[in-house]
Symmetry: D2
Subunit: 257 residues, 4 copies
């Protein structure tokens, strides 16, 4: 279905990191809360072997009254910690008018589920050359997701990483229904790397390890997991976050194959 | 669940048109294609009794290669025809950076299904005083839809009209599954007027009349229907569009109760 | 899609009751609990104008540990009350081996949502001449529902009444998502009468009236509503049941059009 | 949620086969078409290493006009081939009145997706001691699926094997949406073995291998795959069936870990 994105292509983050060889491990807290919180979490993750740090500065919250993130201050913290630890960082861009700010601070842009159909944002992101993680919309068909990637590619940016993060179904045992079949499908249809976010995909800590193993077994090129150095104090998604000890064990098990 | 939007409130479009008494009838083509097409369709609709003209200038198409609308030229046509026929006009705003342009040309802003979670757009729209039609996201829960309205209201704009347009389910006989129960629910939860779009809600011409009657019977405050003076030549959604004769009959039947 | 069920056909319950003229009003408790409960509820309903009494004797409960109904004793009560008040009765058949028992006691058989795909049951019911209410499966497509009716018809029984009772979607504000568009679709596709169950379709008392009005406005041939003489003491579905006073007012409003 | 099924328990098929050590490999055609077809397919599968043969004799077809299976003749063929090749066989029981017939011919009973809510059938199956494969209903929640198993267990039969086979969602790229997260969930909630059917779960031949690897990686105890010795001549599901050469390669890849 895709016109531009059929051939397999290596997506490179920097001189030492690209998708396709070993799984790219992305981790970090739901939200950047303070320098200390982000630095401590990041330092621990870097020591374990994580490749990319994640963290939200502008948060797409369902309620306008919920904490919306630290904004530019969060990006500054993220950028500083990334430089101090020499590790690339990714954060979600929600507002096209913030693009220049994001280009300043982050190595990878993220388009979240809620904005997968935000074609104005996709076009703007398509005009940069920053790598973009494009999450699947919560009820996006395979065709719509491919076409969202095509919006970015057709505006000039082919550095796209797709991220399956669960779809919305009738079931409510898990936060979303992780659709791992999307991994081999999207790889075949677009030639792009596909990563999986089991934290949002399941919303349950005990399911992150088995679903990560399954994701890699069917070809996922990386995993994005929520980790907080003190999950019980997290401002957002604490219940589904791993702490550093849990993540160390998780990393060991996932990489031991 | 809503904080600001509990009390019933009359939403006014202009000196002669407000929601709450008789159903507000909104009609027009999927896309503005030319002055002639929009003028001829509009003239016919005005004569039948339509209250507001609809038409797309910037179109949220799944594929970047599909016709994306005439853009500002479309809005100019719409505005000119609205003035010539003395009838308010509504069009969908997809890109927050186009707000000033839209404020110039249209009487009512529309936020489409794909952008219901686009909080940057909701905030911008919340800072104007133009009435806004807020369509339900294609898999938005009732709670999420209320909160999207709350994003607009909490930024200062309470002139919100909600529009049910069908949700995404397993069934594929119709284009979407029209969820009419949302009409009494959203009226009770927010006090805002709720209109129904049976054209997108069903995607089938023969279902527009029965579902419009049902919508009004459960309390809908208006109907938004796709009408094209020559559906067989329409660039978009021709199959679900009524022609002027069909709409005249439709209007008569719906209003005869 | 249907082979046998295209022509419109009058479905007759007895000498004085058939579908197609005025709405057929079916009401009664979720479960038959005792002679007193069923008789008192039924007497009240008959006085209001109800055409058919409903009540469960064998209940399809999700848990094997929940109350499963009075069984044959429930059917005996139902049959006796029906004769005493001279009003037809309907109850759900779950087990094909109980067919002879049901033929003894009830005027109309019901196949519930959970058994819409139970082809062994559909075939057995197809070999009787009792009218059958065939509820839509909770995630049945239009095509599957038509084919379930076709299973019954192709075994000889064309006395089928279809019942829309809500489908399963992502939304959880209501118990199910009432799909009223199914009413005009199924009437056109099969020629059979279609009734609506707003009690299960919404699971909320305050939505029963508006959705019943909507159902009739788009062509429904009848309504099936849960009524209990003392909802606060009901063994099952008390929260969505109307009491007799509420139902009297409901009946007046629905019939006043 | 389960009362009876919390403790992990070894489910045994015969003296040499039980669930829990290595993956139990179940394979065979959608439908038993003839002695030759079933014998040739079975002989090939046995040589590859398959543990259990599957094949339909009574088929739950959406349309009453589609081929319904060979019935008892199919079971006779299955039983004979099973004895000749010394390998257990499983087939789907749709009609409770056929239980005695099935007990005669098969080693494992299957309750299919369409009958997961057929409580009359679950109770009957609960009174035998044959192992039962209980497939998940196509829109069954985790809770409902557990309770369906509980119906069987509470009537005395604890020899239950759960089978995830895809759920019904909005997406239509695949036949169903395979919900692999159900594997670790159901194992934890019930202690029962959980197998996966990637043939029905995806409906696409090229997805069977990656999704089978993923299933085993997250803990599945076995795989049920459709194989036909001549898929292009299959009466049913030929497109999603593997042929014997494909299955040999599939088996090698899946088992090589």
């Amino acid at each position: 279905m895709s016109r531009l994105l059929r051939e397999k292509k290596v997506i490179t983050i920097n001189e030492t990191l690209s998708f396709g060889e070993k799984p790219v491990m992305i981790a970090g807290p739901c939200t950047i809360e303070s320098y200390e919180q982000f630095y401590e979490t990041a330092k621990g993750l870097k020591a374990i072997g994580v490749d990319v740090l994640r963290g939200g500065a502008f948060k797409p919250r369902t309620s306008p009254y919920a904490f919306q993130g630290l904004g530019e201050e969060g990006l500054e913290i993220m950028s500083r910690v990334g430089r101090e630890l020499n590790i690339p960082v990714v954060s979600e861009l929600m507002d096209e008018t913030n693009l220049a700010m994001f280009e300043n601070y982050v190595d990878i842009l993220q388009v979240g589920s809620r904005n997968m159909y935000n074609y104005a944002l996709l076009k703007v992101v398509g005009r940069t050359q920053k790598p973009v993680i494009l999450k699947r919309g919560m009820s996006a068909t395979i065709h719509e997701w491919i076409m969202a990637a095509e919006y970015i590619a057709s505006h000039g940016n082919h550095n796209i990483i797709l991220c399956e993060r669960g779809i919305r179904t009738f079931d409510n045992y898990t936060r979303n229904t992780l659709d791992l079949t999307a991994v081999p499908i999207m790889k075949a249809e677009t030639g792009l790397p596909v990563i999986v976010d089991p934290s949002h995909g399941t919303g349950r800590r005990e399911l992150i390890l088995p679903m990560s193993k399954a994701a890699l077994a069917c070809g996922a090129d990386g995993l994005m997991v929520e980790v907080h150095y003190k999950p019980e104090e997290a401002l957002c998604d604490g219940d589904q976050s791993l702490d550093l000890d849990m993540y160390r064990e998780f990393y060991r098990e996932v990489m031991s194959k």
